[in-house]
């Protein structure tokens, strides 16, 4: 296990773009954890100073101040916490639902597996954001409901993936052998199939984090995310619009943060795919 991890880290370090992705994500996590220490005005998540509103960037306010006179930089750091919480919990829940559904539908060949895959297909037949908007709107704006809306619409991606991978793993000799030796279905699924499909799940989960952060930002921008005064990035961009073009820093900073973080996950995901899943290697990139 340790050896595999070391091997992975070495390969990642030698792939410049993947290393950049990993660096960005590490930075994000550090920023989120250390937000109270790194921020210059940690109180500005909830405190406002109307006389100092819409100040341009300066030594005191790196990214200027917002409509309430709060420090944009400090709120950005606390926004990272929301982004991570939403992405990790929503993706975690989708994976926890999607993997068992995909395993069961892939292992058995009966009406249950047909029904499970048809349900997944219907969810996949609609753009994720459209269903997420409908659910988030019905439930009302809050961080919990954003997570619920994203999980409810994202699990079928993993169900589909795990289903396809399980079906192909069942044709492999080692699985046939363990079935022939009398291994129970659960033993085969968890001890034999799951470890062998984990690479593609890890790759898709990494790239999925980027997609989820984008979708969560859209919900926030539309006012379906955590309500004010939350420093959520999408909401901050929406709030900044009426102060353009003068307060350009107000809209630019959170968008740049979303861009960097999503790019980090995409680059790391591409790199992991090259290392873990040689079948789908980016052609010719070596």
């Amino acid at each position: 296990m340790l050896e595999t991890t070391l091997f992975l880290l070495r390969r990642l370090a030698s792939d410049r773009t993947a290393a950049l992705g990993a660096l960005i994500i590490t930075l994000l996590v550090v920023v989120a954890i250390a937000a109270p220490v790194l921020s210059t005005h940690p109180g500005d998540v909830t405190e406002f100073h109307p006389p100092e509103r819409l100040l341009p960037p300066s030594d005191d306010h790196f990214f200027g101040t917002d409509r309430m006179g709060a420090d944009v930089y400090s709120r950005l750091l606390f926004g990272a916490r929301i982004t991570i919480a939403i992405a990790v919990i929503a993706i975690g829940a989708s994976v926890l639902v999607g993997i068992p559904v995909g395993l069961i539908a892939g292992y058995y060949r009966n009406w249950v597996s047909d029904a499970l895959m048809r349900i997944s297909d219907i969810f996949l037949a609609v753009p994720q954001i459209v269903l997420a908007i409908a659910i988030a709107q019905t439930l009302g704006p809050s961080i919990e409901n954003v997570i619920l809306a994203l999980s409810a619409t994202y699990w079928p991606f993993w169900a589909r993936l795990v289903y396809a991978e399980t079906r192909s793993a069942l044709n492999d000799t080692y699985v046939e052998a363990s079935i022939a030796l009398g291994a129970s279905p659960w033993r085969v699924m968890i001890l034999h199939v799951l470890p062998n499909i984990s690479s593609s799940v890890i790759v898709r989960t990494t790239i999925g984090m980027g997609g989820t952060i984008l979708t969560a930002a859209v919900l926030g921008f539309l006012g379906l995310g955590p309500p004010a005064p939350s420093p959520e990035w999408g909401r901050t961009i929406a709030e900044s619009r009426e102060f353009l073009p003068e307060a350009w820093w107000y809209a630019t900073a959170p968008g740049l943060a979303i861009f960097l973080v999503v790019m980090g996950f995409n680059l790391l995901g591409d790199g992991l795919r090259d290392i873990l899943d040689p079948r789908t290697r980016r052609s010719g990139d070596g």
């Binding site: 459209v130 269903l131 659910i135 984008l214 921008f221 961009i237 960097l260 999503v262 790019m263």
Partner: protein, 352 residues
């Protein structure tokens, strides 16, 4: 056997394949209805089961017990859930999406009136992405690891990571507010061309009104650039990968050995095979485009379905949101159906 070898000289399908393509088409068409019904069950669940008490919401805080009972009867929520679902499906089948709580008009009418604006934007963006993205993807593959390839990779990575609504705001900030090169928002100045198709580009050409046409195109520049950026990135990426896969085939070596110019081999034969992979991505690209259209329309005040959805969100108009979900879902299902069928026609291996 490669795809190109199965195509006849004139580019028509060889005998026997038409039959299988037909089977595939019918097979996909048969799945259309259950998928649509599934979508209805999902929207029904979201709109009728999730809200703790939609009637109390509609009735307001001061409603009497009689008023609530009357409303329950009016909306049919006093009946068992399966009956409600059945009535809901019947209603939608007749084109009844309910009344908008916001515009007080039938939602179906509102949506149909706004559909052309969104489709016009989406079509132009898809065409723009394909026309620019496919050649650039081929170039990146042919000149692999050149500065051009690296530059284009930065472009694709950025396109896939940028939040569309933020990119839209940046474009607005630079080109509309600072430079004043393009209009800030909207679809046209004034009333627009006489409505025939609802597509302003087509309508202003039909009316022979070049001034309006120029105005319409000017308004379209920033929204379509915003929508095209991620779409172009996806198309370029898959075209590049497809070309690199196809360029290592035996038939390429054979044709080059036979003296066929490299340019002809790449742009005629390799590209056709590479596009098979790209076509399968058109569904994905269109889905993302539709999703981005919601926020892009909100930023550019573009009077399409996305803006309607955003207004419905602001007004807590459940019916409007469900109508939007149904229309968007249906458009997306139809696009994927067409992609599947055309994929089966382009790539005969898929017909099995």
């Amino acid at each position: 056997m490669t795809g190109a070898a199965l195509w006849g000289r004139a580019g028509t399908l060889q005998p026997g394949l038409e039959m299988r393509a037909l089977v595939l088409t019918v097979n996909r068409l048969v799945w259309f209805v259950p998928t649509l019904l599934g979508l209805l069950v999902i929207t029904f669940t979201i709109s009728h089961i999730i809200p703790a008490d939609p009637i109390a919401f509609i009735a307001g805080d001061n409603a009497t017990a009689e008023q609530i009972a009357a409303l329950k009867a009016k909306f049919g929520v006093d009946k068992p859930v399966p009956v409600q679902l059945w009535n809901y499906i019947l209603g939608v089948a007749e084109g009844d999406f309910g009344i908008s709580l916001y515009t007080q008009r039938p939602i179906a009418e509102d949506l149909i009136a706004r559909l052309p604006a969104t489709l016009e934007l989406a079509f132009v963006a898809v065409i723009l992405s394909g026309v620019i993205g496919i050649p650039l993807g081929v170039l990146a593959a042919v000149r692999r690891n050149s500065w051009l390839d690296h530059g284009l990779r930065v472009f694709t990575v950025s396109g896939l990571a940028i939040a569309a609504f933020w990119f839209a705001i940046l474009l607005q900030l630079l080109f509309a507010m600072h430079l004043d090169w393009t209009p800030l928002q909207g679809r046209v100045d004034g009333w627009g061309p006489d409505p025939v198709t609802g597509f302003y580009i087509v309508d202003s050409i039909l009316a022979g009104d070049l001034e309006t046409l120029a105005d319409v195109i000017g308004h379209m520049v920033l929204p379509t650039v915003t929508l095209s950026f991620p779409a172009m990135a996806t198309i370029m990426r898959f075209t590049r990968a497809g070309v690199l896969d196809a360029i290592n085939s035996n038939y390429v070596d054979y044709q080059l050995a036979m003296g066929v110019p490299r340019r002809v081999v790449v742009w005629r034969y390799v590209l056709r095979n590479a596009l098979i992979g790209t076509v399968t991505q058109v569904g994905l690209v269109f889905g993302n485009l539709i999703a981005n259209a919601v926020v892009v329309e909100a930023v550019f005040d573009w009077p399409g379905l996305g803006l309607y959805a955003v207004n419905s969100i602001l007004q807590s108009d459940y019916n409007g949101i469900m109508g939007f979900t149904l229309i968007m879902g249906t458009v997306f299902i139809i696009v994927n159906l067409l992609v599947d069928i055309s994929h089966g026609l382009i790539d005969p291996r898929e017909t099995g």
